[in-house]
């Protein structure tokens, strides 16, 4: 059962270094290759899993039931070119929305939206990653 008090919860900032070896590993795992200029593949920021833990990950406060929860949607927005090998990003995640939808078949779906902002070391917003999870009743 989703804990609605998690709405607005914000994690501590975390570092994500865009590393060459990690780019190659991710590209191989998604049946691609790293471009010559070391640009991260479109979904690479999902590797925040490696960098984000307890106090930087407010998703843990949502307490979505793993047996009834699903990853419904994922969006990445880039403000200019995506990050490249050698870039250091600072990520901050927040629980941006929690809302219900009634199913036509009856029952309620609870959607939870977590937005992670990635800034460079000068503070410029580089990218946002939006995760939407859904829990069935």
């Amino acid at each position: 059962m989703v804990d609605r008090s998690a709405l607005g919860a914000t994690g501590a900032p975390f570092v994500l270094d865009v590393e060459n070896g990690k780019l190659r590993e991710f590209a191989a795992a998604t049946f691609g290759t790293v471009s010559a200029d070391g640009t991260a593949p479109p979904t690479f920021l999902t590797t925040a899993f490696h960098w984000q833990h307890a106090d930087s990950d407010p998703w843990e406060q949502v307490r979505m039931d793993p047996a009834r929860g699903l990853h419904a949607e994922q969006e990445f927005v880039f403000h200019g070119a995506p990050p490249k090998a050698g870039d250091r990003l600072i990520g901050t995640s927040r629980i941006a929305d929690i809302y219900d939808k009634q199913r036509r078949s009856g029952g309620t779906l609870t959607f939870v939206v977590m937005v992670t902002e990635f800034r460079d070391e000068s503070g410029r917003l580089v990218a946002e990653s939006t995760l939407t999870g859904v829990e069935t009743e």
């Binding site: 590993e25 795992a29 471009s35 640009t39 979904t43 990853h71 949607e73 969006e75 880039f78």
Partner: protein, 129 residues
């Protein structure tokens, strides 16, 4: 001038190794994607493939087409499930072309035609001269 799309990216039959390699690369170590007894206890016959792997395949195909450095927005919606043994085909087409950007729609389907992921992406285009 938008390049001609590459041939569809066909991946499969998916193996457990493919799932584990993606899990290690992404850092998502959910056991339902590699631990057979755990997957069975969750009601699946086999480990479940990862939505974000399917998203990643769509990212690979679209970046090969329009350039990794040109992506500005990439939104994926997860639909049907996929399992080891399935063969996935990733392809897409142009939805709308503007002066400096193009919107594309991407789909990842199984050999049975089930859509496992749909994506909508925007790529920057070189300024027309």
């Amino acid at each position: 001038m938008i390049p001609t799309p590459p041939a569809p990216l066909v991946v499969g039959p998916l193996t457990r190794t493919d799932l584990v390699r993606y899990q290690g690369a992404s850092g998502d170590m959910q056991p339902v994607h590699h631990d057979e007894p755990f997957a069975r206890s969750a009601g699946y016959d086999k480990p479940l493939s990862l939505g974000m792997l399917h998203a990643g395949l769509l990212g690979t195909w679209s970046a090969q087409w329009l350039g990794a450095d040109a992506v500005r927005r990439f939104k994926v919606r997860f639909a049907e499930r996929a399992f080891p043994g399935d063969t996935l085909t990733c392809t897409g087409s142009i939805v709308e072309e503007r002066r400096t950007e193009v919107d594309v729609e991407l789909t990842c389907t199984t050999q049975a035609g089930a859509v496992v992921a749909s994506a909508w992406a925007t790529f920057a285009l070189e300024e027309p001269t």
